[in-house]
């Protein structure tokens, strides 16, 4: 039980951290609305509260410092200047690290922790009370007394509530009841203060009780019963063995510490008047509970009346559901095919019903997919932090502006986007944005601006990272590529081709190893990550103005639109996203190049042809028959090639079945799917097929040579 509540706590922390980030970002943007400040305060406060419940001391201690500073801001005792805002932002980052550490184990950067604590403490008054986070000794009766008192004793308690006590909802009868649990209680009402009826002030409190409690409990247990009415009553507690007690206590303490410590003499020697014997006390002001009819259903309803009722579901369950829906769709196409194959004259009714089935299946699929769809907002918020950290590490100032945060993308896609985005943003700060002085010299604002945006673009997600830095230093990039032997010395490349050199494995423009770069991770890793998601990445740069990275991703990793083609008697699927156009070729369009290369002439341009069957090592049934159909595809570098296939059958949505776990990574094949006839079809990866194609390589060399001659 406690475990599941702790899970809830960490889930809640995610939301709170998000709210905190959002608020701080607004504050950073100049919005100092008290409600925004309050919201951040509450988020930190709630994290502290929950963390306290689970004994996460480090988290509590840090959240407390953070909260205290924020409380000063809230009370307008502290002005929000840039320095403080930066500190709060860094603290929020650290808080989020501490939450992760508390959840996943590991350790946090202690030096960083101490630096932040010290920085926060500068804003806190010296005499600020340290909150000791220990469960309070409310339940004195439940706590071990330092000295075991087992002897039974008699306490004489005199209790005179002041009239203020009744306004706080405290009820003497319940206090007596609690006392009675401690031992044997005798209650006597002293009504001697009660004036005559005509002099009675109904607001005044005249009743006094004298109680005699016989118990083995220590005095502190009795005091704790009266904790809530402290200051609201006259109270004296005396024991028949007080003196003996004190002696015992002293002796015990001396034995323990070897010296006599100071004794807090809290003996209240109030005169104890002989009580007038009276029967059981009448409840003076029995709590009046407005017992309105409370329909249970309504009460239950109001429990869900949050701002946005949501349901938390284990991701695994959703995955199972998605899988089942995938099977349903495959099942539909199998059924459709079998019915089509039936030799029955009139199938119109069945076909109509089947169409309905198909639509329903589609609806369910879309619904299920949307369960996993999540806005990119949390991811983008994390990225703000990356930019902050990168700026701090490089001594530059850069600000992240996000757009389209509510764009929804499949959860798995979002998760796997985190690393590539982090890397691109770090690069943008490290290599893109110039130093403040340089920016000023170039007539720009001192602070760089990085724009991170997400949008839906015809069934795909488009993520754009745009900086207003210096852009790609093309001569240098080219020189590095030549030095590293990545391209020949006399290579003549277009601007776009030079920019795309950044994605080559082993490429790094970092002159020296800075805190951020030089980790041995290059943009090629980014590209691989994006490609693994079935996406594409492109870079466009304008010298002096900045660079734009564009990532195009599928909305989900579970289904995709594909073109069903046949290659060497095999049915295969080519992702629609990579196909620019399809065409039926004629002989005069095909030109030979080199030993086994082929070029296709399309509207005056030549594109290399890749014979898919050949590239995959499949021998064609009829060798002499030239491939008739070409799929014009565009690679990430913007280069076009033609995939030669035997025929095109259909364009349809296919359910992607990963092959990774089954047969590992196969060059040219991205995944597999199941077709309507129950057969498995490979989903091709045009990029890797082309990489293996001799035509494309030969064409590349050829073109460079011809370019070199022409220039």
């Amino acid at each position: 039980m406690a475990g599941s509540i702790q899970d809830t706590f960490f889930e809640e922390c995610e939301e709170l951290l998000e709210a905190m980030d959002e608020g701080l970002t607004a504050i950073e943007g100049g919005d100092h609305d008290p409600e925004v400040v309050n919201a951040v305060f509450r988020a930190v406060h709630s994290i502290k509260g929950g963390a306290g419940a689970f004994g996460l001391d480090e988290l509590v201690a840090f959240a407390h410092k953070f909260e205290t500073v924020f409380d000063e801001v809230r009370a307008n005792r502290l002005g929000l200047d840039t320095k403080l805002i930066q500190l709060l932002l860094r603290s929020s980052d650290h808080l989020s690290d501490l939450v992760s550490t508390a959840r996943d184990g590991g350790s946090t950067d202690e030096a960083h922790h101490d630096v932040l604590i010290a920085a926060l403490e500068e804003y806190i008054d010296e005499d600020e009370e340290e909150v000791v986070f220990q469960p309070m000794g409310l339940g004195g009766a439940f706590e071990m007394s330092p000295i075991e008192v087992e002897k039974e004793r008699v306490y004489s308690i005199r209790f005179h509530p002041l009239k203020d006590m009744y306004g706080t909802g405290n009820e003497p009868y319940f206090l007596f009841q609690t006392l009675a649990d401690l031992g044997t209680l005798e209650v006597t009402l002293d009504e001697s203060e009660l004036p005559g009826f005509d002099a009675l002030d109904t607001d005044e409190s005249y009743l006094i009780w004298a109680l005699t409690l016989t118990t083995t409990e220590p005095k502190s247990a009795i005091e704790s019963v009266f904790e809530f009415v402290e200051g609201l009553c006259e109270l004296s507690i005396e024991s028949d063995m007080d003196e003996e007690d004190e002696a015992n206590a002293l002796a015990a303490l001396e034995a323990a510490f070897g010296a006599a410590p100071e004794e807090g003499g809290d003996q209240v020697a109030a005169p104890f008047e002989p009580p007038v014997s009276a029967p059981e006390p009448e409840a003076v002001a029995a709590p009046v509970a407005a017992k309105a009819a409370a329909p249970k259903a309504e009460a239950a309803k109001s429990e869900q009346r949050g701002p946005n009722p949501t349901l938390r579901v284990d991701l695994e369950r959703v995955d199972r559901l998605i899988n089942a829906v995938g099977e349903l769709i495959i099942n539909h196409s199998m059924l459709a095919q079998q019915i089509a194959n039936l030799d029955v004259a009139d199938l119109r009714d069945v076909e109509t019903e089947l169409e309905g089935f198909k639509n329903l299946a589609r609806d369910i699929q879309e619904g299920v997919m949307s369960i996993r769809a999540q806005p990119v907002k949390p991811l983008f918020q994390r990225m703000a932090r990356i930019v902050r950290e990168a700026s701090a590490a490089t001594g530059k100032t850069a600000k992240l502006i996000t757009e389209g945060e509510n764009t929804e993308v499949d959860k798995t896609v979002i998760e796997r986007l985190s690393d590539p985005l982090t890397h691109i943003l770090r690069n943008a700060v490290d290599h893109g944005v110039e130093k403040p002085d340089d920016r000023e010299a170039a007539g720009k604002s001192r602070s760089g601006e990085i724009r991170l945006s997400a949008s839906h673009r015809s069934g795909s997600v488009c993520i754009e990272i745009k900086d207003d830095g210096a852009g790609v230093n093309r001569p240098r990039v080219k020189q590095i590529a030549i030095d590293k032997g990545l391209i020949p010395e006399n290579a003549d490349l277009t601007d776009s081709e030079i920019d795309n050199l950044l994605f080559l494995p082993g490429f790094s423009t970092a002159k020296e190893i800075s805190n951020l770069s030089g980790r041995g991770v290059g943009m090629d890793v980014v590209k691989n990550a994006v490609t693994a998601l079935g996406g594409r990445i492109n870079i466009a740069s304008t010298p002096g103005k900045g660079s734009v990275f564009t990532i195009i991703l599928p909305l989900t990793l579970a289904v995709m639109d594909g073109m069903v083609v046949s290659v060497a008697d095999q049915t295969m699927v080519v992702p629609i996203t990579s196909i620019v156009e399809t065409m039926r070729g004629s002989d005069d369009m095909v030109n030979n190049l080199g030993a086994d290369g082929t070029l296709l002439s399309i509207r005056g341009n030549f594109v290399p042809v890749c014979d898919v069957g050949g590239a995959l090592g499949l021998s064609k049934a009829d060798q002499d028959q030239p491939p008739g159909v070409y799929l014009l595809v565009e690679t990430e570098t913007g280069q076009r090639s033609a995939l030669a296939v035997d025929d095109i059958h259909d364009q349809r949505q296919v359910v992607i079945k990963s092959l990774d776990g089954v047969c590992g990574n196969i060059p040219g094949v991205a995944a597999a799917t199941i077709l309507g006839d129950g057969k498995i079809a490979m989903i091709l990866d045009p990029e890797s097929i082309l990489a293996a194609s001799p035509s494309a390589a030969a064409f590349d060399t050829e073109r460079r040579i011809s370019n070199a001659i022409a220039s």
């Binding site: 306290g52 469960p135 339940g139 904790e227 709590p287 009460a299």
Partner: protein
């Protein structure tokens, strides 16, 4: 007859902890996610005791006490404040508004039940 508790706290974690502790101890548990909702629910739930957080959106704990004790509702039901702060000023302010007592976060179940017992006399 179970003692009905209306807990008002904006933290789901704390609500869950309260629910677990209170239901285990035999209380009937109702909850609201902020002060506004808590006050709105009050009449319907008709609780025997209210436990309220202090820092909450829409209406904070002091606001809850003031509204419940105020003319409109005029509740005499015990109200326990659930707070991370044990500063005397805070207790005084809560008491001034009409709070019955306080429970300090993090609470342990025994202290919570003990506090409830002292203000409601609940046998639970």
């Amino acid at each position: 007859m179970k003692t009905k508790v209306l807990a008002i706290d904006d933290s789901r974690t704390i609500r869950n902890l309260l629910a677990a502790a209170l239901e285990e101890a035999g209380f009937e548990y109702h909850c609201a996610v902020d002060g506004r909702e808590g006050v709105d629910m009050y009449a319907d739930v008709a609780p025997d005791v209210v436990i309220t957080d202090i820092n909450m959106p829409n209406l904070d704990g002091f606001g809850v006490i003031e509204e419940l004790r105020g003319e409109g509702i005029n509740s005499k039901v015990p109200i326990l404040v659930l707070t991370t702060e044990s500063a005397p000023e805070l207790k005084a302010r809560a008491r001034g508004a009409g709070a019955t007592g306080w429970i300090t976060k993090p609470f342990d179940d025994a202290s919570l039940i003990f506090a409830l017992k002292r203000v409601t006399g609940a046998a639970a």
